[in-house]
């Protein structure tokens, strides 16, 4: 891991939650950017170049699934780690997210923020999974 702060992009239309996460994660030493809809997600990724995307599924304009597909299909962003973080918790949703290439899946309210911070750190310390697998 480089000396610079790990960057996380939060894609969530719930401003309260996004702000809380931004506050907490900044306190925990991450660099955070927030976008609030699906359409701006890819734009934000290309601009902000995050190490990890915290992606909600139910987003205005473009669903999280579509954003995920787009991230994986765009060469510049295809290696970015994506943690899906949604209020949807169905087995089907989890399966779909996994098929579209999500690195992990967490259900809002089923993970405490402290555990989430630990999870993010763990994901970020891992070598970029997709890269090592393919490279």
């Amino acid at each position: 891991m480089s000396k610079s702060k790990p960057k996380i992009l939060i894609v969530d239309d719930d401003e309260v939650l996004a702000d809380l996460y931004r506050m907490r994660l900044e306190m925990e030493g991450f660099e955070i950017s927030v976008v609030s809809d699906g359409e701006h997600a890819l734009e934000g990724i290309l601009e902000f170049k995050p190490d990890l995307v915290l992606l909600d599924l139910m987003l205005p304009k473009m669903s999280g699934f579509d954003v995920l597909k787009l991230i994986r299909r765009t060469p510049a962003t295809s290696k970015i780690r994506v943690l899906v973080f949604s209020a949807l918790g169905d087995l089907d949703d989890r399966k779909r997210a996994a098929i579209f290439g999500a690195d992990d899946y967490e259900v809002k309210s089923e993970i405490s923020l402290a555990d989430m911070v630990a999870k993010l750190r763990e994901l970020l310390t891992l070598p970029q999974a997709k890269e090592t697998r393919e490279g």
């Binding site: 719930d14 309260v16 939650l17 809380l20 996460y21 506050m23 907490r24 306190m27 209020a87 949807l88 918790g89 169905d90 087995l91 259900v107 809002k108 309210s109 089923e110 405490s112 923020l113 402290a114």
Partner: protein, 553 residues
């Protein structure tokens, strides 16, 4: 249908009356023949021929019922014979006896005593009239003799017929009363069956409709006649997975009354209709079968069930975001607890604990609702035992290590491959292992995987924890049961975990039970059968099993 019975009876009577009369008519003609004239032999030939014809007819009536189906046609043939006889006898027979025979023939059509009497009176009137006006030659002694014989015979016949018709009359009155009663009963029954909101069909062994009520007509929306049609052509059933189902095959497979759920059909308007069929097979006296099929439209009921699931799913989903926010806010606030008043810290921590508890409750309720909804759609696949257990181990190792207890896994050799739903097994294992760690303060938790004699797999999760008292063991798998008072609890738990486990185990017909001694740890067992059949039945059977096992401890 029932009103055809008296009709049959009527034509039988007509037939019987005609057959009774005819021999007497022949006798009458024979008696009136003057024996000295040359035509006698020819007349005799006709009389013998007719007698033979009647014998033949009676015989063939018995064996070739169908050929002589038309009674009226048979009567016409009879009377043509009699007319032939009259025609041949014409030159020698008097006009009186000719008239007499013709009126008798006519009377046989009305065969009743009344008809007979009218013909008799008419006969006498004609004789008197013709004698009075002397239109015909006066009656000779010979003729008078034959007329007297004829009249005597006729009165005898009339008497017999009267007796016959009297019995028949009573019979007929009784029959018509019965028919009326039958009609009333059947119309009442029909009204009853037709007023049922559920479709009822009576099928024969070939799957042809014998009888159907109005609701069935509504269901299939057919303008054509239903009776005699093949049920599978009238009503194309299919499963939720679109496999077509033959109702008659379903019926044939049943020994006793069976209920078949999860049937679908497409209604005339193109909408999907959910049906539930109750089939009662019935063996008749002649050992043929028929089936009484009751079809219940469960489209709305199902959608109610689905609505409930939908509600739970949406409600729990809508609860998640605010719960997540509350937890995140409290958790972040507590980061700066050094700068907070101790009372505030305590309050915030209490709030956080309860938010986490609430979140766990929502999770369990959602899982239950999902399990109920997914009961028909989950897949049965070979279970990857080791990857599953490794995943559970990996997930809980940090928790166990944090608490300072040892988490171990051991596999016994020769584990078979079982067919079941991985998701459910995973969920149950997570719950059991999480519980085991939760209630263990020191020592360890051991997951053991072993084959069962039945060819299944037995998971056991043994802990060295606080154990469960005998009194509490029987309540273990019930909803919202917690061994401790939740207000004084040291461990977070919703009280739904084991109930959820039992529900899920039940769905894959796995057995789940516990052995425990207070302060000596507990062991929970999960036995997966070689092949799981998904069922939507309630957990009562398994619950009873759990209870009896616990009672034995």
């Amino acid at each position: 249908m029932p009103n055809t019975i008296p009709q049959n009876q009527e034509s039988n009577k007509l037939e019987r009356a005609a057959l009774t009369f005819r021999p007497f008519l022949i006798c009458l003609v024979a008696v009136t023949i003057p024996w000295h004239i040359p035509q006698t032999m020819a007349l005799f030939a006709i009389v013998v021929g007719m007698t033979l014809f009647y014998c033949f007819r009676l015989l063939t009536l018995k064996s070739h019922q169908k050929f002589f189906e038309s009674q009226a046609a048979a009567l016409v043939i009879d009377n043509i014979f009699v007319s032939l006889l009259l025609f041949a006898a014409g030159p020698v027979i008097t006009v009186y006896s000719g008239l007499f025979v013709i009126t008798l023939i006519a009377a046989t059509y009305w065969y009743r005593l009344r008809g007979m009497l009218i013909s008799l009176i008419a006969q006498l009137a004609v004789i008197t009239l013709t004698n009075t006006v002397a239109f015909y030659p006066p009656i000779t002694l010979g003729l008078t003799r034959s007329m007297i014989v004829g009249l005597g015979l006729f009165i005898g016949v009339g008497f017999i017929v009267e007796q016959l018709t009297r019995n028949e009359h009573q019979e007929r009155v009784l029959l018509s009363q019965m028919a009326e009663q039958n009609r009333l009963e059947s119309s009442n029954l029909l009204a009853l069956v037709n007023s049922m909101p559920d479709a009822v069909v009576l099928l024969d062994d070939d799957g042809k409709v014998q009888l159907a009520n109005a609701a069935f007509g509504d269901l299939i929306q057919s303008e054509q006649s239903i009776v005699g049609q093949n049920i599978d052509k009238l009503l194309a059933l299919h499963s939720p997975k679109k496999d077509s189902i033959s109702l008659i095959n379903l019926a044939r497979s049943d020994e006793k009354t069976m209920r078949h759920r999860g049937l679908m059909a497409v209604s005339a308007s193109g909408a999907e209709v959910g049906l539930e069929a109750t089939i009662t097979p019935n063996t008749l006296k002649d050992s043929t079968h028929h089936y009484i099929v009751l079809l219940k439209d469960v489209t709305n009921e199902k959608s109610l069930d689905e609505q409930r699931q939908e509600f739970i799913s949406v409600a729990s989903h809508e609860l998640r975001t605010p719960l997540g926010i509350a937890e995140a806010a409290l958790s972040t606030m507590l980061l700066g607890k050094k700068d907070m008043k101790p009372e505030a810290v305590t309050l915030a921590e209490q709030a956080q604990r309860n938010v986490i508890f609430l979140a766990a409750l929502v999770k369990d309720i959602t899982t239950l609702a999902e399990a109920q909804r997914d009961a028909l759609t989950v897949e049965i696949k070979p279970l990857q035992v080791r990857p599953l257990v490794e995943q559970v181990y990996k997930d809980f190792l940090p928790v166990a290590t944090n608490k300072g207890i040892v988490l171990k896994v051991q596999y016994l050799p020769d584990l078979p491959t079982v067919l079941t739903t991985e998701h459910h097994v995973h969920e149950i294992m997570e719950n059991l292992v999480s519980n085991a760690i939760k209630y263990t303060k020191e020592g360890g938790v051991t997951i053991t995987v072993r084959p069962t004699p039945a060819g299944g797999i037995l998971f056991s999760i043994a802990d060295s924890g606080i154990g469960i008292s005998a009194a509490n063991q029987s309540k273990l798998f019930t909803k919202f049961f917690r061994a401790e008072d939740y207000r004084t609890r040291e461990t977070g738990g919703t009280g739904l975990g084991l109930y959820l486990c039992l529900e899920l185990a039940n769905r894959i017909n796995a057995h789940i039970w516990a052995q425990s001694k207070l302060n000596h740890g507990s062991t929970f067992f999960l036995e997966i059968p070689p092949v799981s059949h998904l069922s939507r039945d309630s957990g009562q059977v398994v619950q009873a099993k759990v209870k009896s096992l616990v009672d034995q401890l």
